[in-house]
Subunit: 333 residues, 2 copies
DNA sequence: ACATTCATTACAAACGGTTTCATTGCAAGC
DNA sequence: GCTTGCAATGAAACCGTTTGTAATGAATGT
């Protein structure tokens, strides 16, 4: 590969001049510029980013840590991050962490060893658990989607509690009183938030919350199917299931089907996230829209701000959600 | 950030010794090694990857170009690539190209400007169209999934023609004779391959191929829904739909439902890819399993070989597919 | 005619490591 | 006691760019 020296020699100038031909062409005389560009073209010269970045001490790269890249919701957030990244000429290193603390710690180290300028974390683990210095450490870090807005670093997500309350309110408005809850993993902040929101609406409506009607399992279709099986076997009088993700709801639909329920007549099922497949379920899923792409976009914008300004904005963006009414929740007579 | 100089000074040795403490500790005496590591630890020294990579003239990074990261099939391939990448200590830059030639060209340039060591392309565009030197250029390149096995560079995928023929054979074996085809985008190699496989089985069985029963549209649920609407409006006597992807099939199920078909009794529908959601459709989708993760793993392994050996293996891996029989295809009486 | 200014370009240092080669000191062999 | 060999370490070059500073020469002003 030709390098700057070669171009300089061919054009009869110094390497500095070649460099300026790219970075600051107005500083060069018409003729020199032309000569340099011709030489570069002839030698097919492409400046080495490696050398450039080394000198600039920047990587122009942001690390995105995803618990599971094959999860459609995360994939959509990454898609939003991407969009803003290319706009701002950043590259994205994507790491599928499998929600593993050790791998996430290595990820954070990539900033300290200057392999990346900053980290966007889609997982729930806060920076303080990922770095020996805990709260003290000040690397560019943004947490998205599974944001816990108590930390010192910026977060982007939705108000899970309010969104869950909204859906619960809707179920109540449709006449449901005995509502089962198909929760995700019990120890997750999102799960607790959404459960809290669910209870909020219940108590607001004066409907007692039934601890027995809650089943926890993985945030997946298989998890939803298992949880629904257990719950439906245990409580036969439920009129609706409040599912904490669309995938859980899709699993629940399968389970209810297999149990002989006619949907949505015998049982109403609500989802959460609004993934594309929900629209194509039978029955089409009533759910809560979560602006996944937009969350990614905002997260990356925030990251860009931090990297440009070296400042750490203390923002906790809560993007708006929406109730998406389709057919999986039925009004009781 | 502390650098090698500081550690050297504190430990009372030269920078070279500190460097060796990491790269070749056996060369150092017990006492020096200990002193150096203690000093490094005290200063929280982390070697700058940027400097290391610059000197090594490697990036330890592979670019993955994905037409659409939010597509579950591609996401699973990326997941497989990831797995092998971490094993081999490579980082992945993921670029969502939107199947755009200009963006892909920029991606390929990343190798020439040493931002990445190689490129894995999940899109259909071959390297020869992405580089001014066309066939001549020899950058580490692997094409996966949408592989066109005619090129000079390695590819990993399935035998689309054979897999499609297998599914068509199955439909025929279930007694179907009037089979509609919901194809993806007409100009794609995969589409043509799968269509060819479909025809292969038909002619093998002596069943005439009906040009009129083919509808092209996007490889998406919306595309499948549209195509199915058009086809079902035009030809009311079909007993089965051969869909070129699970997403298309899912869209078709919706369309058939809305048209009043009772599935699978009135109409059989087959998919392709075996995405997770297919299992949760109503009815559960009969489809062709495509080993997406494995395709990613093999692609990345190949890339590692190329990067290690500087050789360009002339392999075209065809991984095995499987018929996944569920309920969306019914046996005709 | 001389000082001043400005545009243009070259020189060399710097970025933070790694690695080659040279040097030192010590132990073993004769 | 002198040579030889080896282990341990240091000095310095190097990777390919950018950029601050200096140098050059032409143009301008008085």
């Amino acid at each position: 590969m030709a390098q700057i020296r070669d171009v300089a020699k061919l054009a009869g100038v110094s390497p500095a001049t070649v460099s300026r031909a790219y970075s600051n062409p107005s500083k060069l005389s018409e003729s020199t510029l032309h000569r340099v560009l011709a030489a570069a073209d002839e030698l097919k010269y492409k400046p080495s980013s490696l050398a450039q970045l080394f000198r600039e001490k920047r990587t122009n790269t942001v690390l995105v840590m995803v618990p599971d890249i094959a999860n459609v919701l995360f994939a959509r957030v990454v898609s939003g991050i991407e969009r803003v990244a290319v706009e701002n000429k950043y590259n994205l290193i994507v790491s599928d962490t499998g929600d593993n603390a050790a791998i996430e710690t290595v990820g954070v180290e990539m900033v300290e060893t200057s392999r990346a300028d900053g980290v966007i974390q889609l997982g729930e683990r806060p920076l303080s658990e990922l770095h020996p210095e805990g709260e003290q450490c000040a690397i560019p870090f943004v947490q998205a989607i599974s944001a816990d807005p108590r930390g010192r670093y910026p977060t982007v997500g939705i108000d899970d509690r309010k969104a869950a309350a909204m859906m619960a309110r809707y179920l109540l408005s449709q006449g449901h009183r005995r509502i089962g809850v198909l929760a995700g993993l019990e120890n997750r902040v999102v799960t607790q938030e959404r459960l809290a929101g669910f209870k909020d609406s219940l108590s607001m409506a004066g409907v007692p919350f039934d601890e027995e009607a809650v089943e926890y399992d993985a945030y997946s279709m298989a998890g939803g199917e298992r949880a629904a099986m257990r719950l439906l076997a245990r409580k036969r009088d439920l009129t609706a299931l409040f599912c904490m993700s669309d995938e859980i709801a899709i699993g629940a639909i399968r389970a209810a089907h297999d149990q002989g329920f006619a949907l949505p007549h015998d049982l109403s099922i609500s989802g959460f996230d609004n993934i594309e497949f929900g629209k194509y379920c039978t029955p089409p899923l009533t759910t809560v829209m979560q602006p996944a792409e937009q969350i990614g976009e905002v997260a990356m914008s925030l990251m860009c701000d931090m990297l440009r300004g070296q400042t750490m904005p203390q923002v906790h963006e809560m993007l708006p959600t929406e109730l998406v009414v389709r057919d999986s929740v039925q009004k009781l007579p």
